[in-house]
């Protein structure tokens, strides 16, 4: 620890205890253990290697930036100024207008091939109607479409990290019918990105991904949706604080009921924990204070691709099935019961018909037998 201390002179504004707290937290999220904490501190402190980060906004609500601002250990000021070098962030940067754009160009030129891009928000690909319609014209910043900006900035980046479900997979904009043709950044540009989905992302996971990049010079291993395995390997359901109530068969059936007060399992209230991969319970939000299920609300599956479509209705166990004729949404049970009912009705009709016809049929057989007897003596 002491050797690390000497290298931290530049960290004048940061509380040492807080800083080591963050390092320990990142170490836990990455699954590295205590002995790696000094290494993480070193990696973050090496001023020469302080990574230049460009933070881009596309179709989104800035919720991911908000979550990023809620880190208190260290505070966002320390994070932005001392630990990382966030050179361009439209929401929190001091510069504006032309100055800001110059800064972006300068950063890209100076750190070509070395800077990290953090993307927030989906990129629309559809062309708006009208004579001046550009591809992706539903999002235009300073006469450039989101697609053009993303392409220019991400082309020379060392790595692209998508924070939040929008940047990762399109998010709410990409929900059916998706009028602007919104997709995630990776899909829009056809590049491989590291995705930190959730709504909003958990900054601990995002910073851990950046730290992984600084420590090892490479991005962390990911699952098939580009999510780092250190955070997205396990389901919400399997690390849930209410799991014992699930196994015990103790469920909340009504909001505000006695069961809800006791903290029973939210399975019947439509919790999507069993379908969702994330480390919410381990990392938690707002400086490790809370997470949805801890607050008494079911998981909505916000770290899964297309969760608005596949996970809704959020307060029901299973989604509806689209019946091909009429476009009515029914539950699987209704369709299944109708199918079984149809089978029963079919069988009943068949039985009534065939057994009603019995005599005629049997008589015919007897007739034929008589005929055969005559013909064959």
């Amino acid at each position: 620890m002491s050797q690390v201390k000497d290298q931290t002179k530049f960290l004048t504004s940061i509380d040492r205890r807080e800083f080591m707290g963050l390092c320990a937290q990142i170490s836990v999220v990455l699954g590295l253990g205590n002995e790696m904490v000094p290494k993480i501190a070193e990696a973050l402190e090496a001023a020469a290697r302080k990574p230049s980060i460009i933070w881009l906004h596309f179709q989104e609500c800035t919720g991911d930036s908000e979550a990023f601002l809620r880190t208190t250990s260290p505070s966002v000021a320390e994070l932005v100024l001392d630990i990382l070098s966030i050179d361009y962030h439209e929401t929190i940067m001091a510069a504006s207008g032309d100055q800001a754009e110059q800064l972006l160009t300068k950063t890209m030129k100076e750190n070509k091939g070395k800077y990290l891009v953090v993307c927030e928000g989906a990129i629309p690909l559809a062309t708006p109607p009208g004579p001046a319609g550009l591809k992706g014209g539903y999002l235009t910043i300073g006469n450039k479409t989101g697609l053009q900006i993303a392409d220019e900035v991400c082309r020379d980046a060392a790595a692209v990290i998508c924070v939040g479900n929008c940047a990762s997979y399109g998010g709410v904009q990409a929900q059916r019918p998706n009028p602007t043709g919104a997709v995630g950044v990776g899909e829009a540009l056809g590049i491989k990105t590291v995705n930190i989905p959730a709504c909003p992302h958990n900054p601990v996971n995002s910073i851990a991904t950046i730290v992984n990049f600084l420590l090892l010079g490479s991005l962390p291993p990911t699952d098939r949706f580009g999510r780092p395995l250190f955070a997205y390997e396990e389901r919400i359901h399997d690390q849930c604080t209410r799991r014992s109530h699930f196994d015990a068969g103790q469920f909340v059936t009504e909001w505000g009921s006695e069961e809800a007060k006791k903290g029973f399992c939210l399975y019947k209230m439509g919790c999507k924990g069993p379908q969702t991969y994330n480390n919410c319970n381990k990392a938690r939000y707002n400086d490790h204070t809370g997470w949805p299920i801890g607050a008494g609300h079911g998981c909505v599956g916000c770290s899964e691709p297309k969760f608005w479509d596949t996970m809704s209705p959020f307060y029901k166990r299973l989604e509806g099935i689209e019946v091909p004729f009429g476009g009515v949404e029914a539950t699987a049970d209704k369709v299944g019961l109708a199918l079984t009912g149809a089978a029963a009705v079919g069988a009943a009709v068949h039985a009534a018909y065939t057994f009603g016809k019995k005599k005629e049929h049997d008589e015919r057989i007897i007739d034929r037998e008589k005929q055969e007897k005559k013909e064959g003596k």
């Binding site: 399997d238 014992s244 103790q250 469920f251 019947k268 379908q275 596949t310 099935i321 065939t354 064959g376």
Partner: protein, 232 residues
Amino acid sequence: MVILLEMVKVKTASVRVLHWVIFLATVSLVLTGLYIADPFWLSGSGEAYQTFVMAKIRLIHFLSAIALDVAFLVRLYIAFFSLFHTDWTEVLPTPGNLKEAWNSLRFYWTLEGEQKDYRWIDPFDGITFHLLHLVLILQLFTGFALYVSGIELAAGIWGIWAKTLHIATDWTLVVFGGLPGVRLMHHFTLWLVVSGAFLHIYHQIWKTIKLQRADISAIVNGYKLMAVKRGK
């Protein structure tokens, strides 16, 4: 001409036992499956450590699933390598089988013409068994896809099992749109199994009464009646 009927052996003991294992496992799977989808009936009372209702019902569901799958695989082996009678060709939708199945279906609804006497699986049954087993295979893959999502962090031999299941079932996540889609499909297919089993049972009872060939007894004691043309 006098039609003489004769008892003939059509099903070995192993086939009959496997049939009833599959029957019991299916009943157990449907009941526990409905409970897991919507825990409407039992609920644990007292503190969470005193009761284990959902976990036990899930265990029964998993064990029944394993029993069904193993019985199905053994039955598949017998279909190909039985010393008594190999019947795998009878459940394939070949043009010949389809044509005969269509004739049977027409007979079942119109009673026109005459139903041939089939000693083994008759072509209409063959086609329905084919469909029913495809449905069971779908249940197998979607079920294991849901199952393996709960043992992602398994290590050792258990981890090899998890990896094997991933290799075998990950395609269902792509086809049905992630775990929610797989869950929905698994649940909906339950109803396909229920309605299919219902039609199967009705059909066998109907055949037994209408054709007078003791079809149901084939799956109980292994024998059914066959027409033998003898004498004049």
